[in-house]
Every structure is written in structure tokens, then in C-alpha cells.
């Protein structure tokens, strides 16, 4: 048991901190700090800066750009990136399809996709959920039928995040409708979003934002060589993909930064001439979220330090569940600190309401998503009850 980082890790943390705060353009970091939507160009520019320095995909195999870091180094990398308001490498590329292709793709597919995926030369989107396949993902109905050298895809995907920016989609499709278990008849196909027969329809969210989309497939012809791994093994790859980043999903660094901002806002807002932060109930609420966040961070560190043998620590399932709850608690806190000011959500130049108060409630509403995506918190409870408690 030892609290301090080793001198090497302390130096590593300093190196990350310096890089993120000096090499990523201030204007991009300001966008994140202001909690405004990051543009496609800003994502691409950032990821290329990171990739050039070997900091975009450190968790990949070394021959494809990985760094052979310890789980603790990865934790520090991610934490410092979030604290510095750096947009993280696009999850669909860096955490999802990249590692799957690296692990299960053919040599040709690795050479074709991995370098471009790391550099965000290809922007990937995810074709997993369907209107009737949410938490019960394995009941998906989009089909791919073999026709000569092609697969012909028909069906519909939904909740496809940032699909409007995407060049390619990785898509779970049913290739064997007769399989005894529904999980056994699924394959993973990849294809360009501009393939004939692919239609994208944006979905407006309650905060007025356009992040997610529906994607329709009508007789989309996909070359057979675009099947990743083995036919009908897609479910295994999906599980690998979803289980890949349980540590990162806690998003401790981001929530920590938001909480620091909340404190500043609570000192800025006054009640009867006194800073809101001095109100005992408000101070207590901030302190309680801060302590919960500390507990989560320490649990993430515990999990990271114990995952070295490749097996995730049992406590890792806590991270998604609690991480999402605390992201939500922090956004709710900021909305409540803004109070009446938060009503000016879509005010223009004529308003005196500060920017942070305008984005507060839209962000709070938007963040209801985090306990739903990536395996809803109810799915996480099912995992904890089943695999950890044996219930």
C-alpha cells in the first residue's frame, strides 16, 4: 500500500499535463471549458495533434500505434486530458472499432484501416442499437444476406452518435436468422456512409442539439471483404468492444473540472449580497458531490492498478454506474447554481446572463443520456447482481 506516485509516474503525469495544456490550441480547450459543442474540425485537429505525439491510441497494440502503458498510466493520460479540457480521441475510433480490428481483423483490414482510424482520417460511427433492440441488443433485426461477393444490408439503426460527421459505419447485422441462440447469428460489417442505400436522419434532443441519428439501410451492397473477423461471431466482438473501456467511462477528470467550475460559479452568484457558495446547504451539496467523486476516482485507481493481468477488477462495474450518476449530479448542481439565470438558455447578444448559466440546463438535460448509453445503469446493476453477487 503506497499513496504516492513513483517518481517515474510523477514525471509522466507532468509530461501529460504539459503536453495537453501547451500543444492543443487554446481555442479548442476553451470550447470544452465553456461546455459548448465541439465541431468536427476541432475533433479532427485535436486527434491529429495527439496522434502525431503518440497520444491518441496508447491502449492499442504497439505495432499499430499503442504505447504498452500500464493501466495506471492510461488512467493518468485520460485524467489529465479531461482536466485540461482536451476533446478526447473519438471513442468510436479509438476505443471501439480500432481495438476490435486490431484484435480480430485480417492483416489486410489492419493495414487498410488502423492508421487512418488513429489519425481520424476516417470518422467512424456506431451501428448497434435499433428501434426494437436497445438494452436487449442481441435481438437486432438488421439483416445482411450474402449475394455473390457482396453482403446486402437491409434494416435500421438508431442513436448513431455524430453519424452526421461519419465517413464509415461499423454495424452489427444478422447473418444467420436460423441460429439457435440469437447471439450466434450476428456479424460485424463496416462500410462507407455514402454507399448507395444508406440514409441518415437526424434526431433532435431535448436540449435542442443534434448528436444522434437514425440510419436506414435499403439494399446496401457491402463487399464480403468488409466483414470483420469471422462470420456469426459479431456478438463476441461487440462484447469485447463494450467491455473495453470500463475504466475510462467513469469520466472522473471531466466531472472534477465541472465541479471546480461549479464552485467558481457559486462564488460568482450572490444571494442577499453574499456568495451562494457560503450558503451552508449549497456548500454541503458541493462538498458531498466532491467526496463522492473522490471515492469514485480512488475506485478507478484501484481498478486500474489491479487490472494489470488483463482481467478487470470486480469493482470496475461500479465505474460506469457511479460515474454517470456523478456526471449528472454535477450538471444538475451547475443548473441549480444558475437558478433563474438558467432560463436564458438560448439568449443572444442582448442578454447579460453569463455563458455558463445559459448552457447549464441544456447540458443537464443532455446529460440524462449518460446513464442510458454504453449499457444503461439498470444493465450495470444486473451485471453487478449477477456476476459479482451471484444473484
Amino acid at each position: 500500500m503506497r499513496l504516492q506516485l513513483s517518481p517515474e509516474l510523477e514525471a509522466f503525469r507532468e509530461e501529460m499535463r504539459t503536453f495537453f495544456t501547451t500543444q492543443v490550441p487554446q481555442e479548442i480547450r476553451d470550447t470544452v471549458a465553456a461546455r459548448r459543442h465541439v465541431s468536427k474540425d476541432q475533433y479532427v485537429q485535436t486527434q491529429r495533434i495527439l496522434n502525431a505525439a503518440g497520444l491518441a491510441v496508447p491502449h492499442w497494440p504497439v505495432e499499430w500505434g499503442g504505447r504498452d502503458w500500464t493501466p495506471l498510466q492510461r488512467h493518468i493520460w485520460r485524467e489529465e486530458m479531461q482536466l485540461a479540457c482536451v476533446p478526447e480521441p473519438l471513442a468510436f475510433n479509438a476505443s471501439m472499432i480500432g481495438p476490435v480490428i486490431a484484435a480480430f481483423g485480417s492483416q489486410e483490414q489492419k493495414e487498410r484501416f488502423l492508421a487512418k482510424t488513429a489519425n481520424l482520417d476516417i470518422w467512424w460511427c456506431q451501428g448497434f442499437s435499433e428501434p426494437d433492440a436497445g438494452s436487449d441488443l442481441a435481438s437486432l433485426r438488421t439483416t445482411a444476406v450474402r449475394d455473390g461477393d457482396d453482403w446486402v444490408v437491409n434494416g435500421q439503426k438508431t442513436w448513431t452518435t455524430l453519424g452526421q460527421h461519419a465517413d464509415w459505419i461499423f454495424c452489427l447485422v444478422r447473418t444467420d436468422p436460423t441460429a439457435e441462440k440469437k447471439q450466434r447469428g450476428i456479424s460485424l460489417l463496416v462500410f462507407p456512409m455514402d454507399t448507395p442505400g444508406v440514409t441518415l436522419r437526424p434526431i433532435e434532443l431535448i436540449d435542442g442539439s443534434f448528436e444522434v441519428n437514425e440510419v436506414f439501410f435499403e439494399d446496401v451492397r457491402v463487399p464480403a471483404e468488409n466483414l470483420i473477423g469471422e462470420e456469426n461471431r459479431g456478438w463476441d466482438y461487440a462484447k469485447f468492444l463494450l467491455g473495453n473501456e470500463r475504466v475510462g467511462i467513469a469520466r472522473v477528470g471531466s466531472t472534477k473540472r465541472l465541479l471546480a467550475q461549479a464552485k467558481a460559479y457559486a462564488q460568482e452568484v450572490t444571494v442577499g449580497g453574499r456568495p451562494l457558495a457560503e450558503d451552508p446547504r449549497m456548500a454541503g451539496r458541493i462538498a458531498e458531490v466532491e467526496n463522492e467523486l473522490l471515492a469514485l476516482e480512488l475506485t478507478a485507481l484501484r481498478v486500474a492498478a489491479h487490472s494489470a493481468d488483463g482481467k478487470p477488477h470486480p469493482a470496475s462495474s461500479v465505474l460506469k454506474l457511479r460515474g454517470s450518476e456523478l456526471q449528472q449530479a454535477a450538471t444538475e448542481l451547475v443548473a441549480d447554481i444558475a437558478g433563474p439565470l438558467s432560463l436564458s438558455s438560448f439568449a443572444d447578444d442582448g442578454s447579460e446572463v453569463p455563458d455558463w448559466a445559459r448552457v447549464a440546463t441544456p447540458e443537464y438535460l443532455n446529460y440524462r443520456k449518460v446513464s442510458i448509453y454504453g449499457g444503461s445503469n439498470e444493465v450495470q446493476r444486473t451485471i453487478i447482481a449477477g456476476t459479482i453477487l451471484g444473484l
Binding site: M1, R2, L3, Q4, L5, L9, L72, L83, K256, R257, L259, A260, K263, A266, Q267, A277, P280, A283, G284, I286, A287, E288, E290, N291, E292, L293, L294, A295, L296, E297, L298, T299, L301, R302, A305, H306, A315, V318, L321, R322, E378, Q380, R381, T382, I384, A385, G386, I388, L389, G390, L391
Partner: protein, 388 residues
């Protein structure tokens, strides 16, 4: 940053677990022991002494083992796991901690040596009616007459106060040249003007009303400097040890509950078929693991010489919330059996509640943390002030 125990620490855990399992693996044994004074088993206490556990954190020159807060945490967690009634934290961390913090070399050798051997049971007499978890004394006053001191006033509740061979008493300095600071004193169990009235506590322990009426006392340490800061530090170390006792207890409460859900049948099926129940068990696990991480961290902060007072408040808050959550749910998920004296989970809930109230509850810790919440931008658990 390393959350793993070394092999000696694992051996220590195995040894303590073995001893306590033999003593209290059968929960009826605990009920028998707590049913009669002094509320713990003197033989088990002697065995803990023989294993060196009662001198664990004391310096070797004072008869101790020279171990640190991590080792204390390991023992405390094992105590909590089986609800062993032996007052390890109360005697070693609290009373012993105060003597170690301010005593003279001679006092340390005598009292700590006696604690370590199991021959001296020391009790901290600090709480006073009318105060809540204060590090200083108000109601018991110390008066000097030449080289000797006498104490007057009431301490209550004093854990194990009736059984104690020696009391470590905090008192407000009064009289000539006193500045109203708090000092610590040793009072022998057979001192004149000392009245002790013992009773049971709800968790099976023992406490006492301790009345001082011009009772002769020996000043602990040299000089009459205010000892509030030292007391605060020892209380913090004890809070961290209690956090680990709570972790052990919560762990057992959760495992017992999960086992019950798998075996108890209603409506023709075992209870784990009801998602309304299994989800709540999953939430208990989340509470437990978050509290465990915080408690382990606080022990590492103590070990590294960091800001132990704030770290203890953080561990106190997290384990208090978790203890309330797990304690209440463990009973509810069991149903009526959970409230009976012959079943174990209710006793865990009772003990967790006692731990909450002995040195400060969650809301109390939160108030202290809230008072300084804007004094720092973020909490960095790996950096200053926690790394010392």
C-alpha cells in the same frame, strides 16, 4: 500509487481472521460474550495481546510492534467482519494513541507496554454530555496544586470506562496561569474521588458515566500546552480505523444478505428472482466498494504523513453514508428475521450505527468539509496536502 497489501500484511490478516473466526464464527458465541460484563472475552483479549496486536502501532521501545495505520486497518476490518466485541480501536488506537501522542517516555513505556501485554486496559475519557465530537474539553476541569493535579466533572459516555485499569482523560486547564487549553491526564482505576457507573450500549458494548470529584490525576506529557491539535489527530486516526471496522461489517452484511436472497423462498421461488431486490443488493455493493476505496486511501494518507484530519473526515463521510445504506437495506431485504437478536445482520446495523456516533457522523463530517469547499479548486488524492 499501490492498493495491494504486501505478504506480511496478508499474513497478518490471515492470522487475525483465523483467531477471530474461531472465537466468533458462531454468532451465538458473540451474544454470550456480550451478554455479561465486561462485554468482551478476556481470553480472546489475551490472545490478541499474545499475537502482538494490542501493541501493533506503538514503538518497539515502548513495547509495541512499530507497525503503521495499514496494519491497524487490517485488524479493524477483521474485527468488523465478525463483530468481535474486543475493544481494539478504543484501547489501542484511541486511548493508546493519546498516550503515544503526548506522553513522556516513561508514561509511554508504562501504559503502552501494559496495553501491548494485555495487562492494562486503557479507556479514553473524552466525550462530555453537552458536547458533540469536539477535540477539546469543557465540562471536566483540571486544577493544579503545586506539582499535583486534580480533576472535577463528568465524562460520558466513556467506552469501557467501568472495566478500564487506567483512564486517559481530557480536561480544561483552570486556575493560576492556565490559558483555558485542553490537557490530557492519566487517572488510575482505584483513584480517590472517582465514581464509575457502567452500562450496556445498544451494539453490545460497554460504556460508563465517569465522575471526577477532586480526583488525583497525572498530567500526560510535559508542560501545560494545549493538546487540542494532538487530540484531533488521534481522533482522526481512530476515525480511519473505525472506517475499516465498518468496511468489514458492511462486507459481511452484504454477503449475508446476498446468500439469504439466494436461499429464501417466497411465492415459490428464491428471492433473487425478484429484480426489485437484486438491484438494491447491487447498489449496496456500489456503496461498499466506494467506501472501501476511501478508507484504504485515508489509511495511506495517514501512513504517508499527509493531512490525516481531512482524509479522516472524507472517510467518515463516505463510510457513514455507506453504513446507513447497507445497514438499513440488509435488514429490509431479510425481512422480519433481520430485526431479531438471534440473527446477525441486525447486530451489524447496530454496530454501524454506533460507529457513526462515536467520533462524528456523516453530516458532521460533511459540515467540516463544506466549510472549506471553496478553499481548493479540485481534490487531488495523489498530491498535496494528502501526500504530506
Amino acid at each position: 500509487m499501490d492498493f495491494t497489501f504486501d505478504s506480511e500484511q496478508n499474513d497478518l490478516r490471515e492470522a487475525v481472521r483465523g483467531l477471530l473466526e474461531r472465537a466468533y464464527g458462531d454468532s451465538e458465541q458473540r451474544r454470550r460474550v456480550t451478554g455479561t460484563d465486561p462485554g468482551f472475552d478476556e481470553k480472546t483479549w489475551s490472545r490478541l495481546a499474545e499475537m502482538g496486536l494490542l501493541g501493533l502501532p506503538f514503538a518497539e521501545e515502548h513495547g509495541g510492534m512499530g507497525a503503521g495505520p495499514i496494519e491497524v486497518a487490517i485488524v479493524a476490518e477483521e474485527i468488523g467482519r465478525v463483530l468481535a466485541p474486543e475493544p481494539f480501536i478504543e484501547v489501542v488506537a484511541l486511548a493508546g494513541g493519546l498516550v503515544a501522542a503526548v506522553g513522556t517516555d516513561a508514561q509511554r513505556s508504562e501504559v503502552l507496554g501494559g496495553i501491548a501485554e494485555g495487562t492494562t486496559l486503557a479507556a479514553a475519557a473524552h466525550a462530555e454530555p453537552g458536547t458533540r465530537w469536539s477535540p477539546s474539553a469543557e465540562a471536566v476541569t483540571a486544577t493544579r496544586d503545586g506539582d499535583s493535579w486534580t480533576l472535577t466533572g463528568v465524562k460520558e459516555p466513556v467506552l469501557n470506562g467501568a472495566r478500564a485499569d487506567v483512564l486517559v482523560v481530557s480536561a480544561l486547564l483552570t486556575g493560576d496561569g492556565a490559558d483555558g487549553g485542553t490537557a490530557l491526564f492519566l487517572v488510575r482505576g482505584d483513584a480517590a474521588g472517582l465514581t464509575r457507573t457502567g452500562y450496556r450500549t445498544h451494539d453490545g458494548g460497554r460504556a460508563a458515566n465517569v465522575r471526577f470529584e477532586g480526583t488525583p490525576a497525572e498530567l500526560l506529557g510535559e508542560g501545560t500546552a494545549d493538546r487540542t491539535a494532538e487530540i484531533e489527530r488521534v481522533l482522526a486516526e481512530a476515525r480511519i480505523a473505525y472506517a475499516h471496522e465498518a468496511i468489514g461489517s458492511m462486507d459481511t452484511a452484504l454477503r449475508t444478505t446476498a446468500e439469504y436472497l439466494k436461499t429464501r423462498k417466497q411465492f415459490g421461488v428464491t428471492l433473487n428472482r425478484f429484480q426489485a431486490l437484486t438491484f438494491r443488493a447491487a447498489d449496496m455493493y456500489v456503496s461498499l466498494e466506494l467506501a472501501r476505496s476511501t478508507a484504504l486511501w485515508a489509511s495511506m494518507v495517514a501512513d504517508a504523513g499527509g493531512d490525516v484530519v481531512t482524509a479522516a473526515d472524507r472517510a467518515r463521510l463516505q463510510t457513514s453514508r455507506a453504513g446507513r445504506h447497507i445497514g438499513k437495506e440488509a435488514i429490509q431485504l431479510h425481512g422480519g428475521i433481520g430485526v431479531t437478536a438471534e440473527y446477525t445482520v441486525g447486530h451489524h446495523t447496530s454496530r454501524l450505527t454506533a460507529i457513526d456516533h462515536v467520533l462524528g457522523d456523516g453530516d458532521w463530517a460533511l459540515s467540516r468539509l463544506a466549510a472549506d469547499v471553496t478553499g481548493h479548486e479540485t481534490v487531488d488524492p495523489l498530491g498535496a496536502p494528502y501526500t504530506g
